[in-house]
Amino acid sequence: MGRHSACRPRRGEGRAVRPDRVMRAVFAAELGKVLRAPAIWGFLAACLCLNAACSAIAARDHGAAVDYVSHVAAESGTSMDAGFLRRIGRLPESPARDDLLAQVGSVIGGVVDATSAGNEDASGASASAGGPARPSTAMSAYDGEAVGERYAALLHEFRQDALVAPMRAKYRLVGDRAAHLARERADLDLYAAGLTMTVHDDLFGGVDGLLSRIVLESWAFGAFAALHLLGCERRHRTAPLVDASLVGRRLTAIKIAAATLVALGGFTLLTAGSLAAHLAMTDLSGILGSSVSSAFNAIASPWGSQPFITWADFTLGGYLAAQVTLSLALVLVVALAACALGVLCPDAYAAVGLLAVGGLVPYAALTVCEDRHWWIAYQLLSAHPAYALANQSQWFTDMSYDAVVPWQETWSVAVGLAVAVVALTVAVRRRGRIDLP
């Protein structure tokens, strides 16, 4: 008879009523196995040190300037208008104040005489009749339809016509969002003034950004936890013992739960520790309430920079929270994928190799597709976690060529999570029905 004879357990067969305490006790034991590995804590400490060092470098380079802007924002608010300019003008003279005046003035037009105080109401707005005049910015002038047509023309030129219609539709929505953000004066929020993109990149940008670094570190950490725990019994030749015990093959699910908890716990520790260090070294408290769609912020487009148009209204604090949340989900995807490989691969080294190849090859493919303007192929690869990591600096925006639907990075992570869960379920169920080595 073949491998799938009637002698093998059917789904749900043999499942006795099992006290929760047994599962809890075994779960605690499995957790202990991982947490007692010295490499775990050494790696976390090294990552925290690395992240703190990077934050220290950023603080050394521009921390003082950002601290000044944050302090000004805390005192004078974050909404740039004539009243805001006047309030800055009344601050003690310094190069930092002058820089800030020039930067704000470049957005809202002109530098207001610092001595012409008293022309403002309690909100700091200009007392001119008809309310404050709204300066024109790239956001307020944004024409989504026109941008969509430009992308359509480029995609046609690159022979990626399948994406033309969705890209047009997307930029109609982007245009609507730009209009909304302009009405809400989000573009007239200070953020970090002239250092906005630097601050934004410090936190969210590329592989140098703090959160991207944390995601990569958490991927490595989670993969180690998963493969360490799931390969433990094979490594020590204890698999026959544990598989023949009362808990038996269900130990696999317990190990997966423990490994996943450790992976997410590692991410939480890294995020909390690294952010705490970063925020201690660079004061962002005054600008956390500022919109990330400030005119000082931008993303790249084929025609230069374009406004940072997000699919929802985000303050810096809210954007940071959203980034952390999606990053957590991204870490979960890779942790579950590592668990699936740990269950399927008889050899831990093979599992590590497959995980590395499974991560690096799609990342390289995405890079090649981007470089060659193979955007259809690029979109087909977008369900892979590498896509989300590669675009982390522009999450929750239109993302130029890199997305064809709103919130694509979020959908990508959701699809990745679904695929990982399915793969893991198949792996675990398979293990429950096969002959064990």
Binding site: E13, G14, A25, L241, A244, L246
Partner: protein, 290 residues
């Protein structure tokens, strides 16, 4: 009662077990066969690590695959290649395995103290396993197989690495358990079974060659095992079983197919040939060749 009913198992394209039928009740059963004969495969089927390609294994009439955890809760298993966590102490390792067997911490600690004492490791309960000898590790293995007070004890090559004193201790443990347990020992060391097994199951070519008591197996060879001078020709009908030292002289131990009870000369043997009581090892060598 544990029954193996028409079980066939093929691995890597080779039929390891072919339509095997066996019944085990309380007592000690020895699975005796040379390496590669299917003992470990049968043991792993009993431990639910493998599934039969056809046939059924039942405990008290119920399919052990369907029983799942209810079966494994009554099973104690010592694999052939017993692994362990080098950084753990015996106490910690047994605690972990006790948790896998569903024991509470209190009950586990009681059992661990009892078992470590039983296997003579109480003094080293808190030393790391990486410092243990092979025999000590094997004793930890025996202890873990008993952690859940099993009704069915399946031991694959349990005496590997044990010195003679430890083997005696092991046999005593098995004797104690035999009245309340089904104990199945797989081994190719005949002497392990000679004194403790109630029944011997001999496997060859994936089938059951013999399933009988040690006395019955030996009785078949009564009168056919001889000690003869070294110069005795090994004609047809005679099989060499080994050499023995008798009073400084080397003599051969042979099996002679002649009818039992004959005088040496009638059996075609030298006059100084001496009939000797057969042993289980004689039966093993005759069944499996060299």
């Amino acid at each position: 009662m544990l029954t193996v009913e028409h079980v066939t198992k093929t691995l890597s394209g080779r039929t390891i077990l072919r339509d095997v039928n066996l019944t085990f009740d309380r007592g000690v059963y020895g699975l005796l066969a040379p390496n590669g004969a299917g003992k470990t495969t049968l043991i792993r089927l009993l431990a639910t690590l493998l599934f039969p390609d056809s046939g059924t294994i039942r405990l008290d009439g119920e399919d052990i695959t369907a029983m799942g955890e209810r079966y494994r809760a009554r099973l104690g298993y010592l694999p052939q290649d017993f692994g362990y966590y080098p950084g753990y102490t015996p106490r910690r390792f047994l605690r972990y395995l006790a948790a896998l067997q569903g024991l509470t911490r209190t009950r586990a600690d009681e059992r661990i103290d009892t078992l470590l004492d039983m296997v003579g490791l109480a003094d080293v309960a808190d030393r790391r396993l990486r410092t243990f000898s092979g025999g000590m590790i094997q004793r930890v293995g025996i202890a873990q197989a008993l952690i859940n007070d099993p009704d069915l004890l399946v031991l694959d090559e349990p005496t590997v690495g044990l010195d003679p004193r430890e083997r005696v201790r092991f046999r005593n443990i098995i004797h104690e358990l035999a009245s309340t347990c089904i104990v199945i020992l797989s081994t190719h060391i005949v002497s392990d079974l000679e004194t403790i097994a109630d029944r011997i199951v001999m496997l060859r070519d994936g089938t059951v060659l013999r399933d009988d008591t040690p006395a019955a197996i030996r009785a078949e060879l009564d009168g056919r095992i001889w000690q003869v001078p070294v110069s005795t020709p090994l004609d047809a009908g005679r099989t060499l079983l080994g050499e023995v030292q008798v009073g400084g002289e080397t003599r051969l131990r042979i099996h002679c197919a002649a009818r039992p009870g004959l005088a040496p000369s009638d059996a075609g043997l030298p006059p100084d040939a001496v009939p000797v009581p057969p042993s289980l090892e004689d039966a093993f060598l005759l069944a499996y060749g060299d």
